[in-house]
């Protein structure tokens, strides 16, 4: 061991998302650009789903970069708006994030009550709360602005 001063290596994810430090996170995939947070919230890993050309968006849902378009997407798949991120045993939930009124991210609640997110072109993680990813900077997620739920499908677990 050398005599130099010890130095601290800080996980870059904590620097980007300081809210993760309180309860940590668990990496659940390698980084890939092949799919994004919306696809991951819908159990897909084959598409990058965002409501702008030339990305995939179902034809029957408005293709515009708005929170309403994301709400309409989840509604088209059986979700309805709900008041909170609180765990409800028979429902699965998603959170839609926005910053300055523009959608930025989506996360899905697991049956444990934890949340799972695909972070842009980076990794998938499990995090304790949706608020753990909050941030106000450019290219940050802002905060959850809508929660939605649908009955849990036992075949997924």
């Amino acid at each position: 061991m050398g005599g130099g001063a010890p130095y601290l290596v800080i996980d870059p994810l904590y620097l980007r998302f300081p809210g993760l430090m309180a309860k940590g996170y668990r990496k659940t995939s390698e980084a890939t650009v092949q799919y994004n947070c919306v696809a991951h919230a819908l159990y897909r890993s084959d598409k990058f789903m965002w409501p702008v050309a030339p990305y995939y968006w179902p034809a029957d849902v408005p293709k515009e970069e708005t929170v309403d378009a994301l709400v309409a997407l989840f509604q088209s798949l059986g979700y309805e708006l709900c008041a909170s991120a609180d765990v409800e045993d028979t429902f699965e939930k998603v959170a839609i994030y926005a910053l300055n009124g523009k959608p930025t991210h989506a996360a899905r609640q697991l049956s444990t009550g934890a949340w799972t997110s695909k972070l842009g072109s980076s990794i998938d993680i499990e995090h304790a709360t949706p608020e753990a990813l909050n941030g106000r900077g450019f290219l940050h997620y802002g905060e959850p602005v809508r929660f939605m739920k649908r009955p849990r499908d036992p075949s997924r677990y």
């Binding site: 980007r16 050309a53 900077g137 450019f138």
Partner: protein, 155 residues
Amino acid sequence: MSRYGQIREPRTLSDVLKDEPYVEAGEDLGRATELEHITRAVERIRQSYEKSVALTDRRRFVEKAFEMYAQLWRDDSTYASSIGDMIQHPAYQAIISLGDEAVPLLLRELERRPDHWFAVLTAITHENPIRPEEEGDIGLMSRAWLRWAEARRIW
């Protein structure tokens, strides 16, 4: 010294940015302030690139500028999902401003490591060769652009 003046070596991204603090990781400055920092960083790259331009070796310096813009954009947008925000990034916009000369560099990037270069290619070329059934599949979208380039013998 040549008739074109002394050729300055292209600098690295960290060289260009070291004199001025960039957005510190972990800082939450707010969107507008952070965007100002990034815009200043991109301006420094542009100035560095323009000072370096030599008439005899333009391609080399465009390539270096592209690499610095692309690295800055990649570093900042790693965790972003919003395509609108990614496109709005000043470094992404700076690549658009490089114009036609950036197209072969973008195609090379798509071949090496597919990423969200589709909007900049469309902005420069006014084309979109991606078929509806390919939308959202980054691999197929990248190959659509490489096919487009091969058909025009620019790749």
